[in-house]
Symmetry: C2
Subunit: 413 residues, 2 copies
């Protein structure tokens, strides 16, 4: 069902020096599937993350925040990440926190590091106790099979309703030094990240000072994972992590003002956008990939508000599923987006290159067959011109199909 | 597909003295269906309305607002309402306004009243020109067949994707005088009213002074049509109209402080809630009727915000469709509702009488089979206790099924 999902060649995913990945089949929820991942990071790396804004954030998210805070005060860096699927360890109260902490403790014991040097992540069903014993039992095998070349297997091991593993890899030259980036993500449903997405991990071998990496992770998340939506449901477990292993010959990036930072920032943003878009392309039941671009707004916030109103509307999404140019539904979504002083008489609406609505009404030259022609495509741009300023925003989303309902009606069975 | 939709006996819909209703088959979009309705109101009635907050409001909504304003300054009351289905006359710019005004002019000419005494309403496809000639051609037949006993036929004539006509009728005794109320509504999709619903008309024979009726219509809309959602899409055409014909022997209600006002207000609210709930019961593809009650909030606004987050979540809605007690999805929706200082450790969640989550985590006594038992029902109460105040709010919604996707993927074909 995925929409124009690029074929991923496992051999083209570059190892990132200083980072190894190992998986296990721990039977967290279902047997015979990779459901535990350990990512190890050599000493000297910096790690930064952004997490869900959901108030019901999962226990591992709380522990991640604590441990990243600890890193800042202790100077002892993050050395391992552990991810399980099948159970989100969310809505689990105090017992859930104990389980997340015990997981870190066990991995730390096995790897000879401190528990605060471990970041835990979970994804899967909410409100059910995570089987700690199974997870602990899976850790030795995951540690055992760690390899720098395991990015593809790592992507497989974090899938839930994803139909395809999601990974990207890039090599860029900065100031004459090669920098290698590889990353993985998972998504599929409960996707309207607000800080970051369900799970995204992106590692590169440049050295980046902690405050610079903290700035970078926010910059990147706001331009990638925070620009996608599948169903408007912001997950309890969203986490996006950057790992800077520092093994590249590029001198350490210690300021956001340097040309090297800008080059690195753009390369990381590009890779993260690709990862985020893979999530949309493999969105639950997706048959169309839509880019919603809102221009001419007073500020980015109102452009995003309107773009999300379009991207979340079940009526817009079902019309795209049907390839039906029932485009008044887009105007309706613009109208209820909550921009209260919007002058609709200034609004133009394009579908790809077709001008559908002009100055708030139907373009007299618009012909249904032109709309129909665009709607039949699998990649469609919706462009809204507000005519009230210079700001703009872009989000990526998918349609709403029968398959989405089937997947989510059957998810736990 | 409708959920526990009460059988409506056309003979039990009471005529309201001073109000007659006539319909026509005008072939606005499809042949052989009632698609034009005229409601005539005798001289001396007062009429008040609330309308959509969608910035892309339809041309007839703009004209309604103008004409209701005119009534206030001229003292000349509203005498007729005209409704067409098949075309929303929204996103139609200036030409759409001309069409709405021409419609009023033609009806006024035929009925011997002023154009400003007519309120126009449209519902159907957005962004397409309303065929004025067909609408005008249908008006004489609609005027011709007006009868006080036509409430059921009137309900039929405003249906779009509705599967059943929606009407309620009540008789109440106030200060020893009988007051009769009858009303109709339509809905089905693009339902998240914000002022009022798609179309709702409620008439009664008590006399009510204009300022009192203006207050009443807001009070009633906030407790009925503004408490429902099907898909979260606020329509361009939402309109809710109260007609007070003044033919009852009850002395005119001229103050919101009188006991008669309170009795009338409660009767009208009760009838409007019934009409609003009929819309949800016949929501597109609905198989479950859910009441979402949020209690213990600091104010009504935050209770509504959380109730709507639950009611709009595609993941919550598909879980209910599947009768799957995947109730962590409700916690996730509470968490991302946008109440930023929410202490989730204080939240309890009930499904009917079953305590699912306690103090923000799974209730240790909760058994999956208890959740399963409730989920199988067609009427389900979701109750959230926030534990931070005394405010509460209730909304009514339905599930998200395959049928919803089918209906909205096929709507125009």
């Amino acid at each position: 069902m995925a929409v124009n999902f690029p074929s991923i060649d496992p051999t083209q995913l570059h190892p990132v020096a200083g980072v190894t990945l190992g998986w296990a089949e721990a039977h967290i929820r279902k047997p015979n599937r990779k459901d535990v991942l350990v990512i190890s990071v050599d000493e000297g790396a910096t790690v930064a993350g952004v997490f869900t804004s959901n108030r019901f954030c999962a226990a591992p998210v709380t522990v991640c925040r604590e441990h990243l805070e600890h890193v800042r005060s202790s100077g002892k860096g993050i050395r391992a990440l552990v991810v399980n699927t099948g159970n989100a360890n969310a809505g689990t109260g105090e017992p859930g926190l104990v389980i997340a902490r015990e997981t870190c403790k066990e991995l730390a014991r096995l790897a000879g590091i401190a528990p605060e040097q471990v970041l835990p992540f979970s994804t899967g069903v909410i409100l059910e106790p995570l089987p700690l014993d199974r997870l602990k039992a899976g850790l030795p095998a995951a540690l055992e099979n760690r390899k720098a070349a395991h990015w593809y297997e790592a992507a497989q091991s974090i899938m839930t309703t994803d139909t395809l593993p999601k990974a990207v890899s890039r090599q860029v030259t900065i100031d004459g030094h090669t920098v290698t980036l590889s990353g993985i993500s998972k998504g599929a449903g409960m996707i309207k990240p607000n800080m970051a997405t369900m799970l995204g991990f992106l590692a590169f071998d440049a050295a980046v000072a902690q405050p610079v990496l903290d700035a970078l992770v926010k910059h990147v998340a706001d331009r990638s994972f925070n620009c996608i939506t599948i169903d408007g449901d912001t997950s309890t477990n969203d986490s996006f992590i950057l790992i800077a292993s520092g093994k590249s010959s590029l001198p350490a990036v210690t300021s956001t003002d340097s040309p090297a930072y800008v080059a690195l920032r753009d390369a990381v943003t590009d890779a993260a956008q690709a990862l985020a878009q893979l999530i949309v392309r493999d969105g639950e039941g997706a048959t169309k990939f839509m880019t919603v671009q809102v221009e001419g707004g007073r500020d980015v916030a109102e452009c995003r508000q309107i773009a999300y109103a379009i991207g979340h509307s079940p009526l817009v999404k079902t019309a795209f599923y049907a390839s039906d140019p029932n485009l008044g539904r887009i105007l309706a979504a613009i109208g209820y987006a909550g921009v209260n002083d919007l002058d609709v008489g200034k609004i133009d609406l394009y579908l790809d290159d077709v001008l559908v609505a002009k100055a708030g009404g139907r373009n007299p030259d618009y012909r249904e067959e032109d709309g129909q022609r665009v709607m039949k495509k699998s990649e469609i741009a919706i462009r809204v011109l507000l005519g009230r300023g210079d700001a703009q925003a872009t989000i990526w989303t998918c349609d709403l199909s029968h398959e989405y309902v089937s997947i989510n009606a059957d998810y736990r069975s």
